[in-house]
């Protein structure tokens, strides 16, 4: 499903970034970086929008020729960015899928945050988090 998953701190540096086809990693890193601008734009525009649960999920940030990028921002300004393969039609009901996938990410991130051995702001090195992300990416190959 997802080709690349990234967790970005509120100061806009990556806490966790992983992509499946490991040879083109730099391309995904760059894509995630450029999507941060779109995320910021959406957050600032949201100030006038109505307040509801969906606000955490930002939806499709921007499509490229091969990939689609989705974003999600938590209340603590931590951003989750997911890059999925455009050719993957299983994500047609993208809202629901992305909402459930981002929910899982958010839940795992909260668990990492509550770990007393984790200092907020460090890179995420939790095996449970890795396992959850792997389960989201494993369907690609």
């Amino acid at each position: 499903m997802a080709v690349c998953v990234a967790v970005i701190a509120k100061e806009n540096y990556p806490l966790y970034i992983r992509s499946v086809p490991t040879e083109n990693e730099l391309k995904f890193h760059y894509m995630v970086h450029t999507s941060l601008d779109v995320v910021d734009e959406k957050i600032s525009a949201m100030g006038k929008a109505l307040v509801d649960q969906r606000e955490l999920y930002l939806g499709l940030l921007y499509p490229t020729e091969d990939y689609k990028v989705y974003g999600y921002v938590t209340n603590s300004k931590v951003k989750f960015v997911m890059v999925v393969d455009s050719s993957n039609t299983a994500l047609r009901d993208n809202e629901i899928r992305s909402v459930s996938m981002f929910r899982k990410l958010h839940n795992s991130y909260t668990d990492v945050m509550c770990n007393p051995f984790y200092n907020p702001g460090d890179r995420i090195q939790s095996r449970a988090f890795d396992g959850m992300v792997t389960s989201m990416m494993i369907q690609v190959c």
Partner: protein, 180 residues
């Protein structure tokens, strides 16, 4: 409910544990209070992440403080803050007339001098929660009569307010020293 008592007892032991293991001179220069406050800070960061997982995005600072007074306080202390006052320029005063961690201690002026130790963790809790939501702040507590307490948080949003808050902290420290 038994779970309330658990946190209360753990908190009391934590405070006495920190003071027992304090080195020479640490009690006087306030290092123990700082340790407790830092513990509260880290816990507050984790807690706020968990609590805001399902809530909608916050519109502004007042919204965040209302969340802290209602939902956060209810989940941690099983009651809401009784009174919230603000000057709309970054200073918020939360008043709790029956602070859970102090109710078992006394109902008047007895043990007033020890109250600050038991409030340090909660101050850190609020500061950690606010910091994770993107607000740098200073949180102080005053107890004039148990078990009521007043927690004041100064938001450090710009240079002037941080200067002001530095001044306030300096003055309040000075007053504290004067009392001794």
């Amino acid at each position: 409910m038994a779970d309330e008592a658990l946190f209360l007892l753990l908190h009391n032991e934590m405070v006495s544990g920190v003071y027992k293991s304090a080195e020479q001179g640490e009690v006087e220069n306030g290092r123990c209070i700082t340790k407790l406050e830092n513990m509260g800070f880290r816990v507050g960061q984790g807690l706020i992440e968990r609590f805001t997982k399902d809530t909608a995005r916050f519109k502004d600072e007042l919204d965040i403080m209302k969340f802290i007074c209602k939902d956060f306080w209810t989940t941690v202390f099983k009651k809401q803050i009784d009174n919230l006052r603000t000057n709309h320029q970054g200073i918020y005063v939360l008043q709790d007339n029956k602070f859970r961690l102090l109710t078992q201690m006394s109902a008047g002026k007895q043990y007033l001098e020890h109250a600050s130790k038991y409030l340090a963790f909660t101050c850190g809790l609020i500061r950690g929660g606010l910091s994770n939501l993107g607000i740098k702040s200073i949180v102080t507590a005053e107890v004039s009569s148990m078990p009521a307490c007043k927690l004041t948080s100064y938001f450090l949003t710009n240079v002037f307010s941080s200067y002001l808050s530095g001044l306030v902290v300096f003055v309040s420290c000075f007053c504290y020293l004067e009392d001794i």
